[in-house]
């Protein structure tokens, strides 16, 4: 082995160093690429949903002056003041009257393309102001599904031509549709809304919160403050850790086999949905609650005990209030997960077509994620946009909840 000259050695080291630094840069670039790609995918997902959703908050509407004064509508004003004015107007034949008046204003061809539920919106306006019956008033009523696709340039040439003709006269246009947030499920994308599903979600979340929060906090307090170190406590801890990792669909199977056997008449009710989701959320609350309680320094407990408080008083008067911000943060995060959960609710039958918002905890209902799932199965292009709009509403709710959690964490977090 010949001795290398010092010059040669320096050169070799420099070459090897250049190679190693190249590898370093490549490795770093790969890491950056991975983070950037994840962020890009998220951005792409949000942009796709938002751009679709913009159309979902709008719908094609026929705008014209509706004149009911000359119509043969026979209705007693006292009926309009009754408890079901819509029913009264329906039996008085409002549907045909609206159809007829539309034909007079826009022509037969356009009137045939009025959505079959459009009269309900006239009925709601009339019920709110019966004086409208005697005069003409401006309305903007949903066009049929066909005409709506005609306006997008889809469908048969006749429909497209009709849509263009009406649009040219300013009688047909896509308008912002605030009713999307106040109506419930329907068969046509023109008249659907998410209020029913949203209300169902809120009722379900209330049940979940009412069950999971006290049980979760109590379990956390017990395990952290009172539990003796024995096999039972170990078993409880193991169960909680496992429940946190059990797939959500398994909770749906439990709800189906257990809750629906005990309460068979509350199928697809928010109460059963909330109970199922509570079992799923509880472990999350226990785990975050334990961490929050653990973070309260022992000196607080010692001080309380030293002035004569009982152990229960110490925990409920001193430790728990100090741990509350952490507990609430975990609760909100668990609730946000439950709000987006779909599979267990499908299992317990919350997938029925429910056209009216639920009246209480035991009436049949849908929830927002399931509504999204049901609409996503529809082939109609109008539903694609409505689905994206519903997704945006769901994401906004989740964003608000997570924002609240972050705010709580930053605002009230105690640093000891």
């Amino acid at each position: 082995m010949s001795e290398l000259s010092s010059h040669e050695r320096t050169q070799r080291i420099a070459a090897r160093l250049a190679k190693r630094h190249g590898a370093e840069r490549r490795f770093r670039a790969i890491g950056f690429f991975a983070v950037a790609l994840s962020a890009l995918v998220l951005a792409f997902l949000l942009v796709t949903m938002t751009s679709n959703a913009v159309g979902g908050f709008k719908r094609a509407e026929l705008a014209f002056k509706l004149d009911l004064s000359g119509s043969a509508l026979q209705i007693d004003p006292s009926q309009l003041a009754g408890d079901d004015p819509l029913q009264a107007l329906e039996s008085a034949g409002l549907r045909d009257v609206v159809q007829f008046a539309t034909a007079k204003a826009l022509g037969d061809k356009a009137a045939a393309e009025l959505d079959s539920e459009a009269w309900r919106e006239v009925a709601r306006q009339v019920a709110a102001d019966p004086a409208l019956l005697n005069s003409g008033f401006d309305v903007s009523l949903p066009a049929s599904d066909d005409l709506a696709s005609g306006l997008r340039g889809e469908g048969t040439p006749q429909v497209v031509a009709l849509a263009q003709e009406l649009a040219a006269k300013d009688q047909l246009a896509t308008r912002f549709d605030p009713g999307f947030l106040t109506r419930s499920d329907a068969t046509s994308p023109q008249t659907v809304g998410i209020w029913g599903a949203l209300k169902g979600s809120m009722l379900t979340m209330l049940v979940t919160l009412a069950l999971a929060f006290p049980i979760g906090v109590f379990a956390a307090v017990y395990l952290e403050e009172f539990a003796p170190r024995n096999r039972w406590t170990d078993l409880i801890e193991v169960s909680i850790n496992n429940l946190a990792a059990v797939p959500s669909i398994i909770f749906g199977l439990l709800g189906l086999a257990l809750f629906l056997t005990i309460f068979p008449y509350w199928r697809s009710a928010p109460l059963i949905g909330g109970m199922t989701l509570a079992l799923m959320t509880m472990p999350v609350i226990v785990i975050s609650g334990r961490n929050a309680i653990k973070a309260v320094p022992p000196s607080i407990r010692d001080a309380a005990l030293a002035v004569g408080a009982s152990p229960v008083q110490t925990v409920f008067h001193h430790v728990l209030p100090l741990a509350l911000p952490g507990v609430l943060t975990g609760t909100i995060i668990g609730m946000a997960r439950a709000l987006g959960e779909t599979a267990p609710l499908l299992m317990i039958g919350m997938k029925a077509f429910v056209a009216t918002p639920p009246s209480g905890f035991t009436s049949p209902s849908s929830v927002l994620p399931v509504q999204i799932f049901l609409w996503s199965d529809e082939i109609n292009r109008g539903f694609v946009e409505r689905t994206s709009a519903a997704i945006i509403v769901l994401l906004i709710f989740l964003l608000v909840m997570n924002g609240m959690a972050i705010y709580l964490r930053n605002r009230f977090e105690n640093r000891w």
Binding site: G31, A34, F226, I236, V312, G340, I372
Partner: protein, 463 residues
């Protein structure tokens, strides 16, 4: 009457009892203080003692009653002469009864079937009768409990220790809910799986290669040939454990390395929450994204490349989107394991002249490997239990194929498909969902157990 009314009444009674007992205790305290002694417990505890005696019996009763009274209502309605015209058994009878009950309880506006109309009045009468009985008994129980407790209030009454004992029992009960839930899951899955295995032998189920249950066929039809779940297991493994992990492991691991080792604090502060948002997006949104955007895109790409068998319900689309969902999970597990490696090992390597990437690849990653492997196992267990993405983006066709562009199905897809149809609960097609659920539960459970064990051993090694 809504089932909430008895509960609200019980709560109101409890409040009254609390106020009354506290007031009584104040009076007692004034009296005994005049004599120079004092109450054993603070007045508030006397209030809570009475309130608990009111609330516990009446709330327990109203919960039990809301579960049992629908059955009692049905018995009374069936005894009514109008029920004599009902079809003897089966689906139609149940539908008529359900319709009449819905109208009578106010959850429906009209009946479609005229036969159900006759039953509405008997239902309404029975529901009212049992609701009234339930409310009365709730109130009576509350009053009885409250009176009993109120009579016991004395200056030396140990209200605090009794209330605290109840609170401790409540705490213990709350923590036992977790055990009950686990036991409930195991029991309900095992029970229905056992019923399923009375139709289909476990060997046919676990090892059969053809899956095609028909919930409308006779229950005994095809029990040896139509319930082979192997294609489902394969589809689940290919989508959840292979494709999703091929996406999630490199991206998640490299993200964790970049964010912990290279990124400036500012970048880290922004990028970490962005990655966490990926984990917070509901799965139904990912499913919609997969079905609407990714799947057609992958199909078109493949067809442009000349793969003609490409399906718009390919396993690849579901797997890739699932992988994206798992990225933050893998990333945070890797983050934790790398952070757990002692600083001395990193310093040693850097002091020897190794570059940062050499330190990461040759020192940090091997040392953190057990933790990372455990994290990946947890990620797999989450991926194979994921439902909505596959329900929306995969297909119902069960087949064993290594071609990711073909359509394929998974365990969770079939559970949803079997249980959201109209099948009866005695049919093996419906019961098969529980057997699949049992397999899923056992597999995820063992993955979690092994992973947690690995993490624990690994932590101890460095502590």
């Amino acid at each position: 009457m809504s089932p909430a009314i008895p509960i609200l009444l019980a709560l109101a009674l409890g409040l009254i009892g609390w106020l009354a007992a506290r007031g009584r205790a104040w009076t007692l305290r004034r009296e005994v203080r005049a004599q120079g002694s004092d109450l054993h417990s603070l007045p508030g505890y006397h209030g809570w003692y009475v309130a608990l005696w009111i609330l516990i019996p009446s709330l327990l009763f109203s919960i039990v009653w809301s579960a049992t009274s629908p059955g009692l209502v049905l018995t009374q309605v069936l005894a009514d002469p109008a029920a004599g015209q009902l079809p003897a058994f089966g689906f139609q009878r149940d539908a008529l009864l359900a319709e009449a009950r819905a109208l009578a309880s106010g959850s429906a506006d009209a009946v479609f079937n005229q036969q159900a109309r006759a039953l509405v009045e008997p239902f309404r009468a029975a529901i009212q009768r049992y609701a009234l009985i339930g409310t009365l008994v709730t109130v009576l129980l509350g009053l009885a409990g409250g009176t009993f407790a109120f009579m016991r209030l004395r200056p030396d009454f140990t209200a605090r220790s009794r209330v605290e004992r109840t609170v401790m029992a409540g705490l213990l009960l709350a923590s036992l809910v977790a055990i009950f839930t686990t036991a409930g899951i195991v029991a309900s899955l095992a029970f229905e799986t056992f019923r399923f295995f009375q139709f289909v032998s476990p060997a046919d189920f676990l090892l059969g290669t053809h899956w095609g249950p028909d919930s409308m066929a006779a229950p005994t039809q095809g029990v040896t040939t139509n319930y082979g779940a192997l294609p489902l297991f394969w589809g689940t493994a290919l989508i959840g454990a292979i494709i999703a992990m091929l996406v999630a492991i490199p991206l998640g691991l490299m993200s964790a390395i970049f964010l912990t080792q290279y990124a400036t604090p500012a970048v880290r502060r922004w990028m970490k929450p962005i990655l966490e948002i990926l984990a917070g997006v509901p799965t139904v949104v990912y499913g919609y994204f997969a079905a609407l955007t990714v799947a057609p895109w992958i199909r078109d790409l493949c067809q442009a490349l000349g793969v003609t068998s490409a399906s718009s319900e390919s396993g690849l689309a579901a797997g890739v989107v699932m992988g994206i969902m798992i990225i933050p999970f893998v990333s945070s597990m890797a983050d934790d394991s790398i952070a757990a490696v002692p600083q001395a090992m990193r310093d040693g390597s850097l002091a020897m002249g190794a570059t940062k990437s050499e330190t990461i690849r040759r020192v940090l990653l091997p040392a953190a490997l057990p933790g990372i492997v455990a994290g990946i196992m947890l990620a797999v267990s989450r991926a194979i239990g994921e439902t909505m993405i596959v329900v929306m983006a995969a297909s119902a066709t069960a087949r064993i194929t290594v071609n990711p562009f073909e359509s394929m199905t998974t365990v969770t897809y079939q559970i949803v498909a079997m249980l959201t149809g109209e099948g009866s609960f005695d049919h093996p097609a419906t019961l098969s969902a529980f057997a699949l659920g049992m397999v899923l539960f056992l597999v995820t459970l063992s993955l979690n157990f092994i992973a947690l064990g690995v993490v624990k051993r690994f932590r101890e090694a460095y502590e």
